[in-house]
Amino acid sequence: MSDTTDTGPVLAADGTPLKRSLRRALRAQKIRALALIAPLLIFVLVAFIAPIADMLFRSVENQIVGNTVPMTVEELRDWDGEAVPDEQVFRAMYFDLFLAAEAKEHTKLGSRLNYEESGVSSLFRTTGRDVDDMGEVFQDAFEEISSDFEEAQVWYDMMSGGDGVEGNERLLSNQVGRLEQLETETYSGDVGFVPGSAISDILPNTARAYSAFAAFTHFVDEDVVAEEEPWEAVYAALALDLEDPGTAAALANYDGPGADLLRQAAATDMPKVDMKSAFIESNKDWNRIEYWKVIKTYSPPYTTGYFLNAVDMEKTAEGIALRDEDERIYGILFKRTMFMSMVITCSCIALGYPVAWILANLPARTANLLMILVLLPFWTSLLVRTSAWKIMLQQQGVINDTLVWLGLVADESRLVMINNQFGTIVAMTHILLPFMILPMYSVMQTIPPSYLRAAKSLGATNWTAFWRVYFPQSVPGIGAGSILVFILAIGYYITPEIVGGTTGTFISNRIAYHISTSLNWGLAAALGSILLAVVLILYWAYDKIVGIDNVKLGG
């Protein structure tokens, strides 16, 4: 019995409290461990997790509408969807579309919205070509009044309001910000132009259109604003401003540069600004209310549209609804993918178990030789193996020929074994079999043969000894193999594409189609996210039922 009654902290050799010293040592250990895995961790994060997260984010991202046609989105906010929008919305669309067409971004928006409503693509493409002509009417009219309207410098002076006047910085920075969104770039530096405050009060549309033109000329075209003749849209904006009866009155008291010119223009009869007619003349589909509805529905920066689409639903003006029966496909494909992956996993277990058992119970030398046979398919190209199955299974193929030769099948009624589910199951079982055999083999190798002998010596039949003693110990191998095979099978797409025909294709074939052919990456991301969620749920369920601790990839 010690006589120390000191209740103070236990001290380490160097005098610090043991608790703290221990904690420090543990922390150092953790940091060292972290430093050791850091290269892998960073690699996985940068090369794997981040791109996947970025890709999955596309399933909800929808900023393109608001970025490309912001004013239209704003105008459409109060639109009731009862009739084709009025002139105000068409004017907003005109200025939006003009800038977007200059930046060549309008066709992207068209492709995006075409996923939701057929025909929007050409609507934007054709009208994007015509926006120049729509404004040219006004350009010609102004140049008719005075050739000064052709002069870049005149325009520059007029819109900047001359030297030393108060500038409307806010208007300019708004337009630069808009251009940044449109081009997904960041711009800094002086545009070389600031709209005058006075003139932008009198001619708000013109000042805005000219500022947009100035920002674009400076940052995108990299030209000098004062040397470039403005866009047709600027002339249209001026015509629009001059239509307002208040403008002429305001101009009467204005004495900035170009005031006389503007007064002269205000006193002249101008073609009327009727963008609605101009748009409908360019493409009569602007008169279709469905197209406007789709622009409005998809104007928020984030959307559930892709996910709804991925579960055979759609957004309509009346809310969310199931798609027409003849367009529902993803439900069928998800169910089929799950079902077939399970069938493939089960057939892998059935075929792989005896093989793994034999391998585990043979002398090492023979086992190693046979192991090469198991691994051999790994060293052959996947495409070659799949194509080989095609030759085996087709109607004029090896198996059918043999059956006909043996007289088991009549020549006219050869078996259909490929381009259907059967073909996919056979080919994929073969391809995935090693992934089942290897974990099972490594687990079975650790089961001592003496257990079986002991069971038998205690009077068990062969079956009882296997079923009650051997099999339970091999379950972790089956578990590991099943998870591997199932998850690989769910994501397979080359094999189903080649041998699956129409009834044997998987959801991944559709994902591949949307990634590489239709370019609908949002939908592909939504389908991929759902697939990932399903796998995680199944994994969780597996953990609950079997227990993930029971999975072993090796001894």
Partner: protein, 371 residues
């Protein structure tokens, strides 16, 4: 005399300096993207080898990625690292790339060579310039080949597109491409719709149903293909009696491999393949690509290509120059989809219409397939 000499020498020097300056401004390597196989070989022999012979020091790398060109180019552009200089794409992909802003718009008269008689490039290519970004090279067609030895006895060989839908006269499997384009039009045509009304009918829901109903009549006899090599293989194996594929594939099965296959040109569907230049190339690479592009799409080069593969040159002025097959020595003209004897009844698919309706119709078509 001395003055003249000096002047001449100065001029020569200036010219030399000018020439070397332009050569210096061009990158000395190019990555070309194509489809691989016989088609890429024809490009290699008809334009790349002569170009390299004329420009020693330039190297060319091939990337056989045209099938995924649209997706890959989009990914490259988003990552800000476009490694391709010139991409071979079918017209519909070129349109898509142009719409997405991934391909560069070109002034065809400025960047392409005029025809030998001085006709502008845009007139020489004519309507085949379906997009501002697209420089057509060849006209190919999707058409049918059939097994000559599987034609039932006492029946004429199939010579009409509607024979594909006639299971009674011509029993046996058919192979069709796993996409709505062409198949929907063929089905409607054989259901009695006039050729110039196909797209009007197809624009309605009833029209789509009608086309699918027609396809339903042969659905369980159809093997659906997605790679162009499948139909020739299926025909060679005797798996199908008749099947659609690209005419060049059938030509090589018939002429080069001596398979018992016949061509059925009725209502062949014309399509185009050509070059696009990725948007945003650095100046030196762009200069090199435009230099190559001008050479590779001139009248003689396009005609040369036809000596290696049976696709029609996209220039009007190249047609008379089409000669014999480089190895087999047979006349190529009768094997061209554009040959008058073959082109008595052709279908020209509407790119704009399909660009608009592809997503919608594809969903319906795939749902129909899966049922």
């Amino acid at each position: 005399m001395r003055l003249t000499k000096t002047l001449l020498a100065t001029t020569a020097l200036t010219v030399a300096a000018g020439a070397s300056a332009t050569a210096q401004d061009m990158a000395d390597s190019m990555t070309l993207v194509s489809w691989g196989g016989a088609y890429q070989d024809s490009q290699q022999k008809a334009y790349v080898e002569p170009y390299l012979a004329a420009n020693p020091g330039v190297s060319v790398t091939w990337d056989e990625s045209s099938a995924e060109a649209v997706a890959k180019l989009r990914a490259m552009t988003e990552a800000g690292n476009v490694t391709w200089d010139l991409v071979d794409a079918v017209a519909s992909d070129a349109m898509r790339l142009c719409d997405e802003g991934l391909a560069m718009e070109l002034d065809h008269d400025e960047v392409l060579a005029a025809a030998p008689d001085g006709t502008d490039a845009s007139d020489d290519f004519g309507d085949l310039i379906v997009s501002d970004c697209f420089v057509p090279q060849i006209v190919y067609s999707t058409t049918f080949g059939y097994r000559t030895d599987m034609v039932p006895e006492g029946v004429d060989a199939p010579d009409s597109i509607c024979d594909v839908f006639d299971l009674e006269t011509y029993p046996g499997k058919r192979s069709l491409q796993k996409r709505p384009i062409d198949n929907m039009e063929w089905a409607l045509y054989c259901d009695g719709v006039a050729k110039d009304e196909l797209y009007d009918v197809l624009s309605t829901d009833e029209g789509v149903d009608r086309a699918l109903a027609k396809l339903d009549t042969i659905k369980d006899q159809v093997v659906w293909w997605s790679a162009g090599a499948e139909t020739p293989q299926l025909l060679a194996d005797g798996e199908v009696f008749i099947g659609s594929t690209y005419n060049g594939r059938l030509f090589s099965a018939i002429a080069e491999q001596d398979q018992p296959i016949g061509m059925m040109w009725d209502l062949q569907s014309f399509d185009l393949d050509g070059w696009i230049v990725p948007a945003g190339l650095p100046e030196d690479r762009l200069a090199r690509v435009l230099d190559f592009l001008k050479f590779a799409t001139d009248t003689q080069r396009l005609a040369d290509q036809a000596a290696y593969i049976s696709y029609g040159p996209a220039r009007d002025s190249s047609a008379p120059l089409v000669g014999k097959h480089a190895e087999l020595g047979i006349d190529m003209a009768p094997h061209m989809p554009t040959d008058p004897a073959n082109a008595t009844n052709v279908h020209i698919y509407d790119y704009e219409w399909w660009a608009d309706n592809r997503d919608d119709l594809d969903a319906k078509f795939q749902a129909w397939l899966a049922q």
